[in-house]
């Protein structure tokens, strides 16, 4: 119980310190900001150790046998090679693990995005033009894609395509903006509720 009260006071203090930035940049905000960076980095290290390195490398190396065990040395060595960036002389060796990760990203970037995103999205767009909504959706997708096709200059009558695309893009950006505002306001309400309810017990 005492720990909960102490924790609530710490959380309230930090919340107010961050909100103090609304007045102007000040030492309280800077304190909270630097603390945030520090604890977040520490949390990131613990998280990576707990969910990546330990279960995928250390635990498996202990539990596996034969080839499955020793093959784990490959990513371990690649990981250690990444640390050669600490030395100026051998920093070029870190290109190997970087190349490996880039290769995986590029390989998955082709197969994964075609199968997982591109084809399903195209399939969802190939609709029968039997309803107004379907017509609007298809026109929106096609004109938006054409809007970002910079290899051809749209002039004259074809400029209409760009005008239509801008309408869709602006509505989309406006909707996304409204959505983001709502999310941020929800967080603000959450923090205010914490201060007034959990900390001050006013509401």
């Amino acid at each position: 119980m005492i720990l909960h009260i102490l924790g609530t006071w710490i959380a309230a203090g930090l919340t107010i310190a961050i909100f103090s930035f609304l007045y102007k940049d000040n030492p309280f905000y800077k304190f909270a900001e630097h603390l945030y960076v520090g604890v977040s980095a520490g949390f990131g290290v613990i998280y990576v150790w707990a969910f990546d390195l330990k279960p995928m490398l250390v635990d498996r190396f202990i539990s596996e046998h034969g080839v499955e065990r020793w093959i784990l040395l490959v990513p371990a060595i690649l990981g250690i090679l990444m640390l050669t960036r600490w030395t100026e002389k051998y920093a070029y060796i870190s290109r190997l693990p970087i190349a490996f990760t880039v290769g995986i990203g590029a390989g998955l970037g082709i197969t994964g995005s075609v199968q997982g995103f591109l084809l399903p999205q195209m399939q969802a767009t190939l609709l029968p033009l039997t309803t107004i909504n379907n017509v609007i959706l298809v026109i929106g997708v096609v004109t938006t894609i054409l809007y970002f096709y910079f290899s051809h200059e749209f002039k004259g009558a074809s400029n209409i395509i760009l005008r239509v695309a801008i309408v869709f893009i602006m509505v989309s950006f406006g909707a996304s903006f409204g959505y983001t505002v709502m999310a941020r306001i929800s967080l603000l309400i959450g923090r205010m509720f914490f201060l007034l309810s959990d900390w001050l017990h006013i509401i």
Binding site: V39, G42, Y92, I98, S172, A175, V181, L187
Partner: protein, 233 residues
């Protein structure tokens, strides 16, 4: 060789992953999963690089007494206390993420409030940005404004309240019986329509374009045409 070997590694890794997609049988079948695990392990080690960079940067600031160096001490203390509590909780509770552990105390009462407040703070800056962006000076800005306002009205009780008052007002006209229209919840419907049709259409168009660009970039990387990722070291 310093350049060729990484290019060969990229080519082989990229092609192998493409092959596993088309030949999902041994020895290729499990390769994608295996590579993804290896990727996580290698990426995990990069955390050490980031940690070193952050620590070194702030130690230099403290050593040279650069303006604001006191906050660098706060940052480093926060970092090492978090690490200390994490490994202490590990030793005592088998996992740092056990409820009631000192590490989870830090997470609940320090990290969550800091993170949530930092993002909540953005609400004010978004409001100020909205004031500048939403002045309806052009057709495009008007569209942006109308869409954003309709989305916001459709997602809060104010939208429903406003619609009910509008129906009540219209009902004052003699001979009209519009009370039934209240159930329409027009702002919520408009919100759903904008999100499902025009917003989805534009977003889909943008994402399809971006994905096509990503695929082209992946092909360039695998073929060694794009080499910026190894030029810095």
């Amino acid at each position: 060789m310093r350049l060729q070997i990484p290019l060969i590694v990229v080519l082989v890794t990229g092609l192998l992953l493409i092959v596993t997609f088309f030949i999902p049988h041994e020895p290729f079948g499990s390769l994608e999963q295996r590579f993804l695990i290896w990727y996580s392990i290698v990426a995990g080690f990069t955390m050490l690089l980031g940690l070193d960079s952050l620590t070194r940067y702030h130690l230099v600031r403290i050593r040279d007494k650069i303006k604001g160096w006191g906050f660098s001490i706060v940052l480093l203390l926060g970092l090492f206390i978090t690490l200390g509590l994490g490994f202490y909780s590990w030793a005592k509770y088998q996992s740092p993420f056990t409820l009631g552990s000192p590490f989870m105390f830090l997470y609940t009462y320090v990290i969550i409030p800091l993170q949530a407040t930092m993002f909540a703070l953005l609400a004010f800056f978004i409001a100020s940005a909205a004031y500048r962006a939403f002045r309806a000076r052009t057709t495009e800005a008007t569209l942006l404004l109308v869409a954003a306002v309709l989305i916001m009205l459709g997602r809060v009780p104010l939208g429903g309240w406003l619609w009910h008052r509008m129906v009540d007002f219209a009902d004052l006209i003699p001979g009209t019986h519009l009370a039934g229209l209240k159930n329409l919840e027009i702002f919520a419907r408009i919100n759903d329509w904008i999100m499902d049709i025009p917003q989805t259409a534009a977003k889909r168009g943008i994402f399809i374009g971006a994905t096509l660009g990503g695929i082209v970039m992946s092909i360039r990387i695998i073929l060694g045409i794009e080499r910026s990722y190894i030029s810095g070291s």
